[in-house]
Structure formats: C-alpha cells, structure tokens
C-alpha cells in the first residue's frame, strides 16, 4: 500500500531575530526569529539536506523517483530535481520532475508521488520541497518568511508510517501573492482582501469539502496541519472550522523558523509526525492559488522511525544567531559583498559533467587491491598503484574528523571573510581530503573535531552555479 515511509527536514543553522530587522528599520517587530540560508545555500542544497535526512539509513537503490518543489529554484531553465537526486546519490534510472510557481507546489509534488506509487509507475518516490522567498526590505514578509526544506518518502515497498486516505483540491485564480519572472521580492495585494477571499475562503472550502466527503467533524481530527501566511489567519481558520486552536492546531513554526513557502505544509507535517501516535488522523491543508486538503492516518509503524536523527525538532534546536540584519541582506545577494581574492579557476560544463560522480555524488574510490580510500576518485591507487581497480564508495554520509586546519582571511567574501580550510580524515578507510568548513564559528575549529558533509553552492562562474561538498560541525 502506498504511503509515507520516511520523513526528513532541513532548517538552516542561522537564525535572525525579528527584533534585529525591526531595529534596522525603526519599525515594529513581530517577535521570535526566522531561519536564514547561508551565502552558500539555496533551495537545491536545502532539498539535498532534507532528502538525505529522509533517506538516511534506507537503501537508496530502492528509490525510483525524486520530485523537487520550489517557488525559488536557482534555475529557470534546467531541472533541479536531477541535481538533488544526484547529490542524494540516487541511481540514474528514476523519474525526476520539478514542481514550481505555486505555494502549493510541495503538496502538488506529494500528490503526484502518491499517484505514481499507487498506479504502479514507481515503487518509491522521494518528494522534496524547499523555499527561500524574499520579502521586500521592511515589509512584513521580510519578518514572517523563513527558509527551510522538507522531504517525504512515498513508497509501497515497506509498511507506511502514514497513509493518505483522501484529498480535496480547490483551484482559485486570483492575484494575492505573486512574482513576475523578473522579480526578486514577493508582491501582494491588500492584506484584508487576500486573507479573506484568498486564504480563508479557499482553505475553508477545501477542508470542509474534505470533511464532508469523509463524514468527519473537527473532533475526529488529532492534528490540523494548516499552512498559513500568519498565525492570526491560521487561528481564524481553525476557529471557523470548529477546531480547538490550543489542542488541535499544529504549531505554525512562525516564531522559530518562519513561513517557508511551498515547503511549509510538508515541514509542519514532518513536525506533526514526530509527535504522532498510531491511529491519529491528521488533516493537512496547503494554500496557494487555491487549496489542497489531505486526510492522513498514522499507522503503528510510526513508532519505528522515532528517535533517529530525522525531522524538524533537532534542526530547530541546532542554531546560531546571525549577527546582523546587514549580513542577512548580503547572504541573500541584496547587498553585494566584495569578493575575496579573485578565483584562479575556470568553471566549465564539461568539467562539471566529467567530475559528477565525485563532485556531486561525493563518491570516493576504494582500491580493490589494498583497500585504500581516496577522495576525489583516483584511477591509480596512491598506495599500491593498482590502475582502474576500484569501487566507488559514497562519502557524503560518512563521519570525518579535522586532521589539520587553518583559518584563512584572504579566501572569503567580505560578508564572511574567514574560510576554515581543512584536511579531514574520514572514518571510512581513513580517506583524507582537502575541505572547506561552513556553518561554523571559526573559533571553534580544532584538530580532532567531528564533522559531517553538506552540499553547498560554491560560487557562480561561466554563467552557472557551481556546487560541491563542504563540511560542518556535526549538527
């Protein structure tokens, strides 16, 4: 039976206090903090994190599809799902697709995955949703938005932890929030109009439509997982539908993360699953040019996935304060940082293509003769010189430690001048590699420090974004 068999999430390490934004503008603060992607992150890298978090410990060979949903993908033309799938080291013979444009893109991808698995065209599809929307400086969106990604594995190969019982869609053509193809910032019409005739009206139609179809009333639902642009609109919706906001409403994650676009409904679902009990009925609804309501049932299997490193709770707690609002502007490219010393390298589509197995999949080579592990892949073994006698091994999920390091003040951009340069040693075969550390306080770097791998956007060159792996302190 098709259902969700695993979940994953990613929230960037950096959090910006809303008071800091308000202080910069001399405006009011809505309180709490929002997540902010680092200057080497984007929706693809966040989706990779969520995908790996979701697939961690599972057999990745069994996955035969990956969907990527985002309203803020790094490319307008060029698939991102293929990049996420490769970085997550899925095999090439899989279905991939990008879902975009709508805030409902995340639930649209989920629905498509369920259909693909139910119809038998795929056995196991990994759904990722990731967003990094930008509000106009000083706007309420700038405070309310957050950056995050979520992932769900839809499969019929194992007993599901959650089954999809029913759904109810509403399509609604209107301008409430939008961006033109050339826009950086989210535009919107007057708040009172878009909440009343956009959010409330359409969510109500979808949710009540679903409940009527299934013969349910509010008291039958264990958790109402309602996407909302604001806490107030979420509570108004709950009240109108007869849900108790205190006990039934899933936390909007606005005080500590922010509204993460098309990823948000799935992110809230993941948070709900971390607390869910067998037999719980969950009602999830997402909004964007209409609404999608889903009825989900939690199975006994839920207990088996708890307690591992998956989900939202851990990454909400793992955080560092972003030192200033200016830094947020710079990380998002709204201020232009001064580059560090000029690059001596020349990106090329050909090079990226040839290097894809180690640069994107993070494969090393393990010598079949002597067992030496290299990263990147070495055709001739350093230790025994065996030629082309190796198997590729994945290092992106392997533990490593700092062997030696330096804190380089020349190599970084002006908004992040210090680059920790490292020699790391992996537990697997004691493979060594040069790496850069990200998401850290340079002062905490030390020999012997445990690190984990993270997929990042390295720099822009030759008209392309170039991605590669860095390491970070274990989160």
């Amino acid at each position: 039976m098709a259902g969700i068999i695993s979940y994953g999430a990613y929230i960037p390490l950096w959090r910006l206090s809303r008071d800091a934004i308000a202080q910069a503008w001399g405006s009011g603060s809505t309180g709490g903090e929002r997540s902010v992607t680092n200057n080497d992150e984007d929706t693809v890298t966040m989706a990779v994190e969520a995908a790996i978090n979701c697939a961690g410990g599972l057999e990745r060979e069994a996955i035969d599809g990956l969907y990527f949903a985002s309203t803020t993908p790094p490319y307008k033309e060029k698939e991102c799902a293929t990049l996420v799938a490769a970085a997550a080291d899925l095999r090439p013979e899989i279905i991939t697709a990008d879902f975009g444009n709508s805030l409902r893109a995340g639930t649209a991808a989920l629905r498509a995955a369920l259909h693909a698995v139910s119809s038998g065209s795929a056995k196991s599809v990994l759904v990722t949703a990731s967003d990094c929307r930008i509000g106009y400086p000083r706007s309420t969106y700038e405070q309310s938005f957050g950056d995050a990604a979520a992932a769900l594995l839809i499969s019929n190969t194992a007993k599901p932890i959650v089954t999809m019982e029913s759904s109810f869609p509403i399509s609604n053509e209107m301008y409430d929030v939008w961006r033109l193809d050339k826009d950086t910032y989210v535009q919107s019409w007057e708040d009172r109009f878009i909440i009343q005739h956009g959010y409330i009206e359409n969510m109500e139609k979808a949710i009540s439509g679903l409940m009527k179809k299934e013969g349910l009333s509010a008291k039958d639902i264990s958790k109402a997982i309602f996407y909302a642009p604001t806490a107030r609109s979420q509570q108004e919706l709950a009240r109108r539908l007869g849900f108790d906001a205190k006990t039934q409403l899933q936390d909007l994650l606005i005080s500590n993360v922010g509204i993460s676009g098309c990823a948000h409904a799935l992110l809230m679902l993941v948070a709900a699953l971390e607390e869910a009990k067998p037999g719980n009925k969950l009602l999830m609804a997402s909004y964007g040019s209409g609404a999608d309501a889903f009825l989900l049932r939690v199975t006994d299997e839920i207990e088996k996935v708890k307690g591992n490193k998956r989900g939202v709770k851990g990454v909400i707690k793992s955080k560092k304060p972003l030192s200033s609002y200016v830094r947020y502007l710079s990380y998002r490219g709204l201020l232009e940082p001064q580059p560090g010393e000029p690059f001596r390298l020349f990106p090329a589509a050909t090079t990226s293509w040839r290097e894809r197995n180690w640069a994107i999949r993070m494969h090393g080579s393990k010598c079949k003769n002597c067992g030496t592990v290299h990263f990147p892949i070495e055709r001739v073994c350093y230790n025994c010189r065996s030629k082309d006698n190796y198997e590729e091994v994945r290092l992106s999920d392997k533990k490593a430690r700092v062997f030696t390091y330096s804190l380089d003040n020349l190599a970084g951009r002006s908004d992040d001048p210090t680059i920790p340069q490292l020699t790391v040693e992996f537990e697997l075969g004691n493979a060594r590699s040069y790496m850069v550390m990200t998401d850290c306080d340079p002062k905490e770097v030390a020999i012997g420090m445990p690190v984990e791998m993270t997929f990042r956007r390295i720099y822009e060159g030759a008209g392309m974004y170039n991605y590669f792996w860095k390491c970070r302190p274990v989160r």
Binding site: L345, A359, T404, S406, L407, D408
Partner: protein
C-alpha cells in the same frame, strides 16, 4: 645514476632589485638580472648557446620564452620555458646544468622572472588545481598554515608558544633583510610586532607570510673544467635534488604533515650527490623556502638541520642566525627579499654564490669560512621541492 657533483659551474649571476616594481615590467627585470650576470661572468650575450627560462604566472595560453628572448634579443638558439610551482627558478637552473653536463652546450643561461604586482591584489589569488570546485577556496597561506597547526598540536605547543617560535624566524629574516639593498622589505621587527600583527591565515600573521614581489635572477653555467677560464672564483654545483609527490598533502592517505616526502627526498638526493653526511655540520649557509615561517620550521627538521621535534631549541638558541652554527636565509629569505615565484630559486642561489665568493652585498652580512651552501624551493599545495648544493672548491666535500 651519476652525480652532478663538480660537472658544472656557475661563472656569473645577476639579481634585480626585488619588490613592488611599479616602475618595471617583466622585460625590465629580465634585462636587470641578465646584464648583471653577463658582466659578472665577463661574457657577451652571443656566447650563450641555450637558455632555460622559469616563470609561473603567465596568461592561460602561455608565453613560452617570448619574455626572455625579446628583451634580451637572444636569437636563433634553443630556449625552454620551465614551470614547476615555486621550484621554477631551481628547475631553470637544474635543467641548464643538465644541458651543460650532457656535453651538448658549453655556456648557457638560466633565468627566472616574475611580475606579480600587475594583478591589483596582494596575494596569489584563490583557487587551485584543475577542478572548478575541489580547491575553489584554497590559497597559499591557507595551505601552509595547516603545517603550523599540526606541528603545534603534535609537539604540544600552545598557539602562543607556537606563534612565538615561528615568529622568531620572521624576526631573524627581517634583521637579515634589513642589510640587503636589493631586498623587498628592509625593516627590522620585534617579536611583539609579529605576535600583534593581523592574522592572514590562522595561525599565521602578516609577518609569517613572505613578500609578494616582482623580480628576476639569472645564472651563467659552463662545464666545471672550463670555469676558471672565466673567473678565479667560480662556484661549483655539488648536488641537485628534486622531488615531486603523487598527491597534494591534504589528500595523501596517512600523511602526518610533519615529514614532507618531497623535502626529505630532494635534500637526501642532493646530500648524496654532494657527499654530505651531516648537513647540520657540513652546510655553512642555507637559503630555504620560507614562504611562511611555519615552512622554514618544518624544513629545519626535514633537511636534518635540527633533530626531529627539536627545531624550537635551535630557533631559541639562535642557531640559524647570521652568527649561529648554520645561518639560514642570510639575505632575508622569501620573507624579506621577496618571492617573485619563478625567480626565487635563482635569487636564493645568487645569495649562496655571493657568500661562497666572499662577495655578499653589504660586507657586514658576509659569513666567515663558507665552503658549502644550499639553496632550496618548495612549491605547490605543497607537493614539490628542489635543492641545489654549491661549493667553491672542486673535490669538496
């Protein structure tokens, strides 16, 4: 394998003023060093039968020997450009020596030159290697600082103790460089200045990093037995070591960051050719690759100047100072004389050559009883090292 010992000799050398040569292009500096070498050797440019030209930071599609042939108007003879990271100057010298030793040429020019100060920024730039992403943020200071970090860790030096130890190397280099008219930096500094300087790549501060300089240096090489026809005090090549390692140290399985195979191998080769069995006692002057003070520290041990883990004791006792048992970087080294990459190996050899002849610029720097000297460069991530041993007497040691 034969040894190069006493097969070839240097009969003339030249070295341009090093520094931020806003006034001079690479052509001007090539002319400066070449004409000093011609005059020193007492030769005419038409006597030159072949050339080896070392330069590193040329445009992507290369420059060949255009920057050598055109300013010097050398014409119709074999000319080869060599490039091997920071060992480039030594590689020009080594290949020129081999050309003469082969018997094919009787008089050749080895010249290295580099123009770094037309880039608009102070360092060597960020990003190394062939991959667009793998080493996208790697820099020279960031790489060599890893040597210091691991050394301090291994020998239990606190960052403060470690920085003071390598800082003393920088103080020595500035003292020595202050007496060299052609050096880039000629200011004396104190250990407190070193300790308080801005950090370039932790643990290395500003004074732990060498000068980013323009400059050129040149040598005229002839068969050893012909040398005294040109001058009374030719300097003989005693050994030429060179070693390249199979992986950058960051990626080398099991590498301890204390014993650089390229340093150990290149010095061993040169010692064996020269007949040096106890370098600490037998070498009278050494010009080693102090791109960063941490590099000079590790070289002391890898070259067997100091026992393993004991370089600190020798630094503290002043063993490598001008008045010490083995003066190192008597002209200020890369730190103060400057490091125009392709010229450096020949500039270091120039200092050894002059000291062996008793003709060090500024007589107060002249060492006494100098019979055997060593020059050395160490380059890449690092990955390669070249050593030349020179002496003033045939048959010694």
């Amino acid at each position: 394998m034969e040894s190069i010992k006493d097969k070839v000799a240097i009969i003339g050398m030249g070295c341009s003023k090093f520094g931020e040569r806003w006034d001079a292009g690479i052509d001007d500096m090539v002319i400066e060093s070449a004409y000093e070498a011609y005059e020193d050797a007492g030769i005419d440019p038409k006597d030159i039968q072949a050339c080896w030209y070392g330069t590193v930071t040329q445009p992507l599609i290369g420059m060949g020997c255009t920057n050598l042939a055109e300013p010097l108007k050398l014409h119709g003879i074999p000319m080869t450009r060599v490039e091997n990271w920071c060992c480039t100057g030594h590689e020009a010298l080594r290949n020129a020596c081999l050309g003469v030793a082969s018997g094919m040429y009787d008089l050749v020019l080895a010249l290295g030159a580099e123009k770094l100060k037309d880039t608009g920024f102070p360092g060597l730039g960020t990003g190394r290697g062939m991959s667009p992403v793998l080493e996208a943020r790697r820099t020279a200071p960031g790489s060599f600082a890893m040597v210091a970090t691991r050394y301090f860790y291994t020998y239990g030096l606190s960052p403060e103790e470690g920085k003071r130890t390598i800082g003393k190397i920088a103080v020595k280099s500035h003292y020595n460089g202050s007496m060299c008219p052609k050096a880039h930096f000629r200011n004396k500094i104190t250990l407190e200045q070193v300790m308080n300087a801005p950090i370039i790549a932790w643990p290395l501060g500003l004074f732990d990093c060498c000068g980013n300089s323009d400059g050129s240096a040149a040598a005229i090489i002839v068969p050893a037995l012909e040398a005294r026809k040109y001058r009374d005090d030719p300097i003989y090549i005693k050994g030429l070591g060179m070693s390249f390692s199979a992986l950058l140290p960051q990626n080398r399985p099991g590498f301890d960051w204390l014993h650089f195979e390229e340093l150990v191998n290149s010095s061993r080769q040169a010692y064996e050719q020269a007949g040096v069995t106890n370098p600490r006692e037998q070498i009278d002057i050494a010009e080693v690759h102090d791109c960063f003070s941490s590099t000079e520290l590790i070289i002391y041990e890898n070259f067997r100047f100091s026992p393993e883990g004991k370089a600190k004791e020798d630094i503290d006792s002043g063993f490598f100072e001008l008045t010490g048992g083995l003066p190192v970087n008597t002209d200020g080294g890369l730190k103060c004389f400057g490091h125009p990459v392709g010229a450096s190996g020949l500039r270091m050899t120039y200092e050894v050559y002059k000291q062996l002849q008793g003709k060090a610029q500024s007589p107060e720097r002249q060492l006494k009883n100098v019979r055997l000297g060593l020059s050395h460069t160490f380059g890449g991530p690092p990955q390669t090292s070249a050593v030349a041993i020179l002496g003033k007497e045939l048959g010694y040691p």
